[in-house]
């Protein structure tokens, strides 16, 4: 068996389906990691500020 990337007359349906899926996953991964990183940094910054203020 070998790779078959020639979808012929169905290419206009097949490739957009794979492209949309790839874009959706790229967005999900990017957004999840960026949001997690942003809130982790914010929590760490506030924790440091809070620790400084404690007597």
């Amino acid at each position: 068996m070998s790779f078959d990337f020639d979808a012929g007359k169905y290419a206009i349906y097949l490739w957009p389906a794979f492209a949309v899926s790839a874009v959706a996953f790229a967005w999900l991964i990017g957004d999840s990691l960026a949001t997690a990183r942003r809130w982790r940094r914010e929590a760490e910054r506030l924790q440091a500020e809070f620790d400084e203020q404690r007597p």
């Binding site: 068996m1 070998s2 790779f3 078959d4 990337f5 020639d6 979808a7 012929g8 007359k9 169905y10 290419a11 349906y13 097949l14 957009p16 389906a17 794979f18 949309v20 899926s21 959706a24 996953f25 967005w27 999900l28 991964i29 999840s32 990691l33 949001t35 997690a36 942003r38 809130w39 982790r40 914010e42 929590a43 506030l46 924790q47 500020e49 809070f50 203020q53």
Partner: protein, 247 residues
Amino acid sequence: MDARHTFDFLTNPERFMAFSRWAAPWLGGLSAAAAVIGLVLTFMVPEDYQQGDTVRMMFIHIPAASLSMFIYLCLGIASLLSLVFRHVLADLAAQACAPIGAVYTALALITGSLWGRPMWGTFWVWDARLTSVLVLLLFYLGYMALRGALEDEQKAARSAAILALVGVINLPVVKFSVDWWNTLHQGSSTFFADKGDHLPAIYAWPAVFMALAYLGGFGALWLVRIRALVWRRKARSLSMKLAEGAR
């Protein structure tokens, strides 16, 4: 470890953060590996004698559609636990899985539509399966909109949890719509299919690997998004303490 201890383990935020710190990258890595193998197999299997090359659409459509229902079930269970036991982590788990579920459901509808056009002659038809999946997407969007609309976080969490539980009723409708009504959408052709409707064996491996990739992807993304919400909660609590200290 009995069921009660497992439940306690998962509801302790500190233990959850320690567990998810290594579990999320592992799940993500396994999911990526499964996706690579699944995609290689997707483009190596021969085209179907009836559907031609569009059969490859199956390997991204079915996992998205199956996971859209599974994720909603997770949303429903987490919502129930947050309502009954008032566990913060259960509420965060429900909140974290809604956007992932919405994306999976949208993908199921879009890829299904792109598959439907060459096979059925139309992108969309108001049959029971397609309509009930659209309703599923609306439940996800409604859940997220409700959480964002109410300022009081506790009230938002409770209202959204009730909405999520109402939406669980739609899951058997989605699953059995092809059996209960005459639909353009075909019946099951995988594990629970009638004899003769089974997926040909050559398509089983790409289907299994892509299903594992979508499942692992959901698991990893869910953990990462719960972690983000735990940190956000901590940041908000700290900023309130700092504001009180400044008075």
